[in-house]
Every structure is written in structure tokens, then in C-alpha cells.
């Protein structure tokens, strides 16, 4: 309802403004061009970063100061705290970084975004930047039409900067011409009333434009031509800072609980910073004057002093809030609780991770691990082994041969409930994102899809295996019981090895998967050689032998599927090392060959 009223109202006000004032039209056009430039700039950086930014972000998780530094630098370079916020939310949603690191990046981004005011006040208003805008637009648009993703990205960035400059130029021209017809300072309001009023206007303007940069440009250009008072400009800047959180909140709507917590942290930080700035406004103004005089900024250079103010109050916010990051994390975790972990619903795949390839791969990888966790439980229970046994140090041979407990797990039902739907979700998600990726990322995604398929296959084989495991595992016939126990041991071994690899156990590495496969192969060969002997001795019947041979085949398939999935999921992430691992890893025929040779 509100949406239906607000948009036509805004359009009507703008149309009326255009009709009565050509200068207002020029200012509004300047804002529109500036916002268009921001869109270009963000698109450019999305394409241009090609995973580099995300790789860097991933490394800023261990220390708060690193996260804050990253936020400052990345926002300074990209001149968009919104883009950094959205990327950070997607990182959190995919499980790549923790909430504390995310909050650090957001703190840094708030500080980084203040460089925009410095650039506009120090450079944008001093030189005729429209002269730079034209060549940038021309070069940018030429590059936008290139096939190379990187050149296209650079093109978008150049065109975006060109549009930003052009937008600033038009705003400046509009305000200068405006000065000749109307003096907006007559609407200035002093004292705390003015502070709150103009802060509210700053919030509203930023919420509507969804860019604190755009609001700041308007403030600085209006201030430069004396259309607003310095005090009111400071209040508007405080409001712009609070209003900018709306972008993070919108971005978090499609994110998971972690993304929502980060948006909450952003809102709290900017609100607290804004309140501090309002409460101590006179002290901060004094500090700004003192710093400005110290660095040689003229007493009446209000635009640069506004830039100093913007940096100071954000810096104060970071200094005040940084010691409370852990408390903030606890508070947000309490008010936005984690949803009850569902085994049937996806945990990491959501729209917020789709725009950034590295993040998306991490989310898919984590989701395949989620699928594997379900499969691990089903397969372990399917062979009547508790996960605690697998994860303990007990000798599997001894434990499994002595323990005859049957765990009542309906593998078939569990497959439908917690495997099939999750696998389908992974396939749907990866299918819809595949087109947006370059060849390298598509290859990784394809591998992860294959890993997911292998995990599913292993559960299906476990479903076939379960009936006879239950039946013969508890049989009074010692010969058949032993053989089925051997099958259980071999399946349990691969489950244990994968758990060890996941826990980064220093005693194992991915190459041990080949050794495990050879061990299983040798055990299977021994059983196959033994079957005829057991039949001849009357230890097992023909029916038992048939079941045993079929089930040996299912166990082989489980081990093979899980080995392949583990190599993809737990192998090296660095492409060269990953290729090396693939080259060195043994193929089935090579393992077959080794099983036929004698020992060293």
C-alpha cells in the first residue's frame, strides 16, 4: 500500500520540481547520473574482481584489525560500502567467514567510505572533473563491448567513474545556478532541533537513493556554494551514515540468519556512531577545527572540514565499538537465533551467494558436506555401526566382530527424506548458476556436483546392502557372519578415513584414500577366493554365496563412490596442487595391478 503511494508521490514531486525550476532539474539529473555511475562501478568491480576480492576477504577472518583494514581498503578502492556489505553478507551466508570478522569488515567499510567525501571535497570540486568524465566514458564503453571478462569489468569501472564525475559536475552547476534564484540557507535550522531535523533528512535521502555517497555529494556540492549551513551539513552527513544501512538490510533479506545478524550489526554500529556524533557534536566540531588548522585546511573551507568530520565521527564509532565486537556477536546471536539445523533443507544455498563465484563455490561445497553428513549417518547405521565408534580410536575389526547390535535405521526412507531432496536442491542451484561462471569455476562446480552424485550413489548402495547385513550379521552361521563383518569393516574404514581427513588429522592425507581402496580390494579378493572353498565345505549355501557376491559388489561401489567424493571435497584447493593430486592418485586399474603384486 505504502509502496503504491510513495513512488507516484516522488515522481509527482520531481515532475513539479522540473516544471518550476530548470536548476532543480539539473541537480536531479546530476544525482541520477551519479547513481547510474555507482551501478556501473559496482557491476565493474563484481566482474573485475573475478574471485580475487573474495580470496582476500577469506583471509581476513583471523584478526579483527585485519578485517577492519580490509573493510577500509576495499571500500576506499571500490568507493562502495554497499558492495562490500553485500559481499560480506554473501560470505557469511556461505559459511566462509565468521560473524565477528564480518562485523570487522563492516566497521572498516564505514571508515573506508569516508574517503569518498575527501575525494569529492578535495578533488571533485577543485578541478573541472567533467573534462575527465568524457574520455573515461568513451574508453569505458568501448571496453564494455569487449569479450574478455576483465576488460569488460575495467570498462564498467571507467564508465562508472565517468558517470560519477559527470553527475557531480551537473549537481555543482545546478547548485551554483540555484544560488542566483533562491537562497536555501534561509531554511537553516540551528541547535539540536536542526541537528535532528537535518539528520532525519539525511536518512530519508539516503534511504531513497540507497547511496550515502550520492547524499554526501549533494551535501558537499550544496555546502560548497553556500546553499546549506555547515552545521546542517554535518547533521545531513550523520543522517546519511545511518540511512546507508538500508542497503545492507535489503541485502540481508535474502540471506540466512548470519547475513541478517550482520545487517543488524551494521544498523547498530551506524546508529550508535550517529548518536555519539549528535551527543558530542560541539566537541567533535572543536576537534575538526583543531585538526583542520593543524593540517593546513583553511578556516572557511567547509567542504574539506566536512570530510574531516565524516572521518572523525566514523573513526570514533570504530574505536568505541571495536572492544564490544564479541558482546555484539553474542547479542545478535541471542536476538536472531540460528534456526534449528535441518537435515532435509539446504543450509548454505541462497540467493545472496549467487553473485560471487568463490563464495558460491564455498556454499555449494559446504552444502555437499551437509549432504555427506546425512549420508554418513545413514551408511554407518545401515551397517550397524555408531558414528561414535567410527570417530573413536577403537580397532574396527575387534569392535565390529564382537558387537552384534542392529541399529533400526530405515535406509530407504532416510534416503528419500534427507538425501534425495538435498541432492535435488544442489543440482537445481548449481544448474541455475552455471551460466554465470567462467570455465575454471564451472569446472569446480561440475566437480562438486559429481561429488554430490557420488554421495547419493553410496547411500543407494547402502540401501541394497542393509537387508543382508542385518540378516547375516546376526546369523548363527559363523562363516557367513564373518564375511559380512568384513564387509562392514571395509565400509566403516572409508567412513573413518573421511572423518579423519575432515578433522585434518596429521596422520592421514588424501593419498591414503588409495591405500584404503587397495586394502578393501585385497579383502574383497580374499573373500571371493574363499567362497568356493566355503561352499565345498558346506559352510555356506549357494543362496548365501550369491548374496555375498552381490553385496561385495555393493560395498565396492560404496567405497569407490565415497573415495571419489572425498578426493573432490577434501583434496587441495589450490588448482596446481589439485591437478598434481589428480595426476598422482591411483586409478582403479593401477590399484587392481597393485593387488596382484607381492609385498615389498
Amino acid at each position: 500500500m505504502i509502496k503504491r503511494i510513495v513512488l507516484p508521490a516522488i515522481l509527482a514531486v520531481l515532475a513539479f520540481g522540473f516544471w518550476i525550476s530548470p536548476n532543480f532539474k539539473e541537480i536531479a539529473a546530476g544525482v541520477a547520473i551519479f547513481l547510474f555511475g555507482m551501478i556501473f562501478l559496482e557491476d565493474g568491480f563484481r566482474a573485475f574482481t573475478g574471485g580475487v576480492l573474495e580470496k582476500l576477504l577469506a583471509k581476513t577472518t583471523d584478526k579483527l584489525w585485519k578485517a577492519i583494514s580490509f573493510g577500509i581498503i576495499s571500500t576506499t578502492v571500490m568507493q562502495s560500502s554497499s558492495l562490500v556489505s553485500v559481499i560480506t553478507i554473501s560470505f557469511l551466508s556461505s559459511g566462509l567467514i565468521g560473524l565477528a570478522a564480518g562485523i570487522g569488515i563492516i566497521f572498516g567499510a564505514n571508515l573506508g567510505t569516508t574517503t569518498g567525501a575527501w575525494l569529492i571535497a578535495g578533488f571533485g570540486l577543485k578541478v573541472k572533473i567533467s573534462a575527465y568524465a568524457m574520455p573515461m566514458l568513451v574508453f569505458g564503453i568501448i571496453l564494455v563491448f569487449q569479450k574478455s571478462r576483465n576488460l569488460k569489468g575495467i570498462g564498467y569501472v571507467l564508465a562508472g567513474l565517468g558517470l560519477l564525475f559527470l553527475g557531480i559536475h551537473h549537481m555543482k552547476e545546478g547548485f551554483e545556478a540555484f544560488r542566483e534564484t533562491i537562497d536555501l540557507t534561509q531554511f537553516a535550522v540551528g541547535g539540536y532541533l536542526g541537528l535532528f531535523l537535518f539528520a532525519a533528512i539525511g536518512i530519508a535521502a539516503t534511504v531513497i537513493m540507497q547511496s550515502s555517497h550520492a547524499t554526501l555529494v549533494i551535501i558537499i556540492t550544496a555546502l560548497s556554494v553556500g546553499q546549506i549551513t555547515y552545521d546542517n551539513a554535518l547533521a545531513l552527513a550523520i543522517g546519511a551514515n545511518v540511512g546507508t544501512t538500508i542497503t545492507a538490510i535489503i541485502g540481508a533479506m535474502s540471506a540466512n540468519h548470519q547475513g541478517k545478524r550482520l545487517a543488524g550489526a551494521h544498523l547498530i554500529f551506524n546508529m550508535v556512531t550517529g548518536l555519539i556524533a549528535i551527543a558530542f557534536i560541539w566537541q567533535i566540531i572543536w576537534l575538526v577545527d583543531w585538526i583542520s588548522t593543524s593540517v593546513g585546511i583553511a578556516h572557511d573551507n567547509y567542504t574539506l572540514k566536512l570530510a574531516v568530520f565524516h572521518t572523525i565521527f566514523n573513526l570514533i564509532g570504530v574505536i568505541v565499538m571495536a572492544p564490544f565486537v564479541n558482546a555484539l556477536v553474542n547479542f545478535l546471536e541471542r536476538i536472531i537465533p540460528s534456526p534449528v539445523e535441518s537435515i532435509v533443507e539446504t543450509q548454505f544455498l541462497n540467493n545472496s551467494v549467487m553473485d560471487f563465484p568463490e563464495t558460491m563455490l564455498t556454499a555449494v561445497r559446504n552444502e555437499v558436506f551437509h549432504l555427506y553428513d546425512n549420508a554418513y549417518r545413514i551408511i554407518a547405521h545401515g551397517i550397524n555401526v555408531h558414528r561414535q565408534t567410527i570417530e573413536s580410536d577403537v580397532v574396527l575389526e575387534d569392535e565390529l566382530k564382537s558387537n552384534k547390535e542392529i541399529i533400526r535405521e530405515n535406509v530407504s526412507q532416510e534416503y528419500t527424506r534427507s538425501i534425495k531432496s538435498l541432492h535435488s536442491a544442489i543440482i537445481d542451484f548449481t544448474g541455475s548458476t552455471d551460466l554465470k561462471l567462467n570455465a575454471a569455476y564451472s569446472g569446480h562446480l561440475y566437480d562438486l556436483r559429481r561429488a554430490s552424485q557420488r554421495v547419493v550413489q553410496a547411500v543407494k548402495d547402502a540401501e541394497h546392502l542393509q537387508k543382508n547385513i542385518d540378516h547375516y550379521g546376526a546369523s548363527k552361521n559363523k562363516a557367513i557372519r564373518n564375511e559380512y563383518n568384513n564387509i562392514r569393516i571395509n565400509v566403516a574404514r572409508i567412513l573413518r578415513l573421511i572423518q579423519q581427513l575432515r578433522a585434518n588429522d596429521p596422520d592421514v592425507d588424501v593419498f591414503d584414500l588409495d591405500d584404503n581402496k587397495l586394502a578393501a580390494k585385497e579383502a574383497r579378493n580374499a573373500t571371493l577366493r574363499n567362497i568356493d572353498k566355503m561352499i565345498r565345505k558346506g559352510q555356506i549355501s549357494g543362496v548365501m554365496a550369491t548374496s555375498l557376491m552381490n553385496d561385495l559388489s555393493y560395498s565396492k561401489s560404496i567405497i569407490s563412490s565415497l573415495t571419489r567424493a572425498a578426493k573432490i571435497l577434501l583434496g587441495e584447493r589450490n588448482q596446481d596442487l589439485k591437478d598434481g593430486q589428480n595426476i598422482i592418485g591411483l586409478e582403479d586399474e593401477e590399484i587392481q595391478g597393485l593387488s596382484q603384486t607381492g609385498n615389498t
Binding site: D509, D514, D515, I584, L586, T600
Partner: protein
């Protein structure tokens, strides 16, 4: 540093076919070195193994390590020629 060195470094940086091969050689050599250390560890353990089962297990592990090392070395040698 001569011109050849600079060119070969540029090759790696620009990720040409030669550069790619050179990077893979480095990666495989690192992995082979780890496997050799692992093999040596198993050899040492084998000397201390008390049961037949432990002996057989270590024999198998050594056998796999050796096969992987041979594969790695062969691939690295072929890539070294490609990288020249």
C-alpha cells in the same frame, strides 16, 4: 638475471602453456617430496612392527606410496620437457 630468466618468469606469470607446465612441475615435486617423507616414515615403522598384521598393513602402505611416487616423477619429468 638474464633475458631468458625474465622471459621464463613472464611465461609463468602470464600462464602460457609452458608456464602452466612449470607451475605443475613445482606442485608435483612438492607432493612427491611429501610422499617420500611418508614412505620413509612407514619404512621406519615397519622395522618396529610387532605383529604380522601390522607388517602387512605397512607393506601395503609403502607399496601405494611407491606407486604414487613413480607416477608423480614420471608426470613431472614429462612436464619438465614441456616447460623447456
Amino acid at each position: 638475471m638474464g633475458l631468458t630468466d625474465i622471459l621464463s618468469r613472464l611465461d609463468i606469470i602470464l600462464d602460457t602453456k609452458k608456464g602452466r607446465a612449470a607451475k605443475q612441475v613445482v606442485a608435483i615435486d612438492a607432493l612427491v617430496a611429501k610422499l617420500q617423507a611418508k614412505e620413509a616414515k612407514y619404512m621406519a615403522k615397519k622395522k618396529l612392527a610387532e605383529t604380522d598384521r601390522d607388517q602387512q598393513k605397512l607393506d601395503r602402505k609403502i607399496k601405494v606410496c611407491q606407486a604414487q611416487i613413480i607416477k608423480g616423477r614420471t608426470a613431472a619429468d614429462a612436464l619438465r620437457i614441456e616447460a623447456k
